[in-house]
């Protein structure tokens, strides 16, 4: 079975300028949110991007969505760099790449009826005529499990889970190929998360969708992903098919992360690897491996040399000097 790559990220760097060099503010500082990240999204699969706050995973999603401009590196869609698109190509790209964000309360315009909200992408792209769009809105509401007479209502009449369904309906309205899901269930009640995850998986199968699933919740990522990348402070530290990462984690950070997950089973004795200290200040990264100050397996080399992401077994990449050797 040939695997088709929908989108490729190559050596992506995204830096933000914080503050300006000036009379009172001293030197300009750069926040290196994403630093040399590369991966490919395979059609029909879910790529899980995992990490804690500040690791850069959301920035990657937003850069793919063209909300940020890359500082360096390329994002290739159908072979072409998205930064070099003309406006027509950008519109076509937008038709094919959509998103669902974390906050169901901030994602809906409180003054727009949800029917209009779902219709908007179609309206902007000149899809169908007015009647056709209204019918499609009803179709989409049905697909996401809402009733068609909800179209006339306003967002405040819906619960968090229902709002996410509305966002999913909007994302699907143009038949996209790729959907970026940025923490889509993190803000929902636990009992609703399962509903939405099931919905996402059903839709993926039905419409042959490709997902980039960004989350900090490892159990959810394990459930839905085919391939997983673990990020720490702007870099990918480990990348492998889902079962390999969870059954055989190699990078010390991945191992600590997995051991810290609390399984809801009181009889399981869980020994978490407790990481000392806090995450380094992203504005003042030291030389060498960015994980050095918390790593339980650190050695002298780690302080001087930055580890590269290298393949240690088929399809399993790790960025750690101890594991990959020099």
């Amino acid at each position: 079975m040939k695997e088709e790559s929908i989108l490729t990220v190559k050596n992506l760097k995204k830096h933000f300028n914080i503050g300006k060099a000036g009379f009172f503010s001293g030197k300009a500082k750069t926040l290196k949110a994403v630093n040399d990240v590369s991966f490919s999204l395979i059609r029909g699969q879910t790529f899980g991007l995992v990490g804690e706050s500040g690791c850069g995973k959301s920035t990657i999603g937003r850069t793919i969505l063209k909300l940020h401009k890359p500082t360096n590196g390329e994002i290739l869609y159908q072979g072409k760099n998205i930064e070099n698109f003309e406006s027509k190509e950008t519109m076509s790209y937008r038709r094919n790449v959509q998103a669902v964000f974390q906050d169901p309360y901030g994602s809906l315009n409180p003054r727009m009826r949800i029917g209009e909200f779902i219709e908007e992408p179609m309206l902007v792209h000149g899809f169908l005529n007015s009647r056709g769009r209204k019918e499609r809105v009803n179709e989409l509401l049905d697909i996401v499990g809402l009733s068609t007479d909800h179209a006339r209502r306003f967002p405040h009449e819906f619960s968090g889970g229902q709002r996410q369904r509305i966002c999913i309906a909007r994302a699907l309205s143009l038949n996209p190929k790729l959907v970026i899901l940025d923490e889509p269930v993190s803000a929902l009640d636990v009992s609703i998360r399962a509903q939405i995850l099931n919905l996402l998986m059903d839709l993926q199968e039905e419409f042959d969708l490709t997902y980039l699933f960004i989350s900090h919740d490892l159990s959810v990522v394990e459930h839905i992903s085919d391939y997983v990348a673990v990020m720490y402070l702007s870099k990918i530290v480990e990348m492998a098919p889902c079962d390999m990462i969870f059954n055989n984690p190699l990078h010390p950070y991945t191992r600590a992360l997995l051991s810290a997950i609390l399984v809801p089973d009181p009889e399981l004795s869980q020994q978490a690897i407790i990481l000392e200290g806090d995450i380094s200040d992203p504005l003042n990264l030291e030389q060498g491996c960015s994980f050095q100050n918390r790593c339980f397996d650190v050695c002298d080399e780690c302080l001087g040399k930055e580890p590269q992401l290298l393949e240690v077994e088929p399809n399993h990449l790790v960025a750690c000097l101890k594991i990959t050797g020099n």
Partner: protein, 289 residues
């Protein structure tokens, strides 16, 4: 939760006094010709300086008395309401339009254009508005039309600041990002996604500014820079009545009371609108974990 439920609840708290005053003056302004017992400009020197009806020397012909030229105070007040409210509404709309446009552009695009516009705001705010008005009226000449223009041009500043602030808080919301991701043009984003969010604050601000502008107009007319006699304006009536304050107090007092009541009314309504529109917005948008 049905929407109508919420509207009823908020109407229950409406400031009846404020609304009543407001509508009273509105009706007076609209139907001045039918309500006023006399013409506001008819002079009758022999009838000058008559006291209001319940005082010594007063008659029911002139309920609030007459001024130094024998003109009926009540009629002049009713026609004066028309001037005040006309200037008020038009200037609010004019300054609101200018201020909103500049605030939207400033807030949404940020960067240089934001700095430039905000510097304009700072500069204008640092100059006493009376001075600006004086200079402009001096250049354009005093008239009803010019006073509306002058007030409109000097009052935009408040709107742009408020609008800019609202835009800054809205533009980082996810639904604005989603609009961009869907391919919406900047114009559509500002019009359909940002402006409606700003509308509530604009309504409240407009209502409160109405009172300020009415006072502003009265002040300019008082100084002789606004509408010219014989057109009755509360400001002019105040100016004229000033010298008679000790023995014919009614010339200045009634217009003064009228100004106070209209402004009080608009402030009460504005406050109520602010309370109704904001928490509803907040309750509707924010959920709880």
């Amino acid at each position: 939760m049905p929407k109508s439920n919420k509207i009823w609840v908020h109407l229950r708290n409406a400031p009846l006094g404020g609304l009543a005053i407001f509508f009273l003056f509105l009706i007076a302004a609209f139907f001045a010709e039918y309500l006023a017992p006399h013409s506001p400009t008819d002079q009758n020197i022999t009838n000058a300086l008559r006291a209001p009806c319940f005082f010594e020397g007063g008659t029911f012909e002139h309920l609030l008395g007459t001024d130094e030229l024998g003109r009926d105070i009540l009629s002049r007040m009713i026609f004066g309401a028309r001037i005040s409210l006309l200037v008020g509404f038009v200037a609010v709309v004019l300054s609101g339009f200018i201020g909103t446009c500049l605030g939207l552009v400033s807030g949404y695009f940020g960067g240089r254009i934001d700095s430039i516009i905000m510097r304009f705001v700072d500069i204008q705010l640092s100059m006493p508005y009376i001075l600006i008005a004086l200079a402009l009226i001096g250049a354009l000449g005093p008239s009803l039309r010019n006073i509306i223009i002058v007030i409109g041009i000097t009052s935009w500043v408040d709107y742009s600041r408020v609008v800019r602030g609202e835009v800054l808080s809205i533009k980082n919301k996810e639904f604005v990002d989603l609009a961009r991701i869907a391919g919406c043009s900047t114009f559509r984003i500002i019009l359909k996604h940002i402006l409606p969010g700003v509308a509530n604050s604009l309504i409240v601000l407009g209502t409160l500014m109405l009172g300020r502008i009415i006072i502003f107009e009265a002040a300019l007319s008082f100084l002789g820079l606004g509408v010219q006699p014989p057109t009755p304006s509360w400001g002019i009536m105040l100016a004229d009545g000033r010298q008679y304050l000790t023995f014919a107090w009614w010339l200045a007092t009634f217009p003064g009371i009228a100004i106070m009541m209209v402004v009080l009314g608009t402030n009460l309504v504005g406050d109520w609108l602010r309370d109704t529109l904001d928490p509803k917005q907040r309750a509707a948008v924010r959920g709880k974990r």
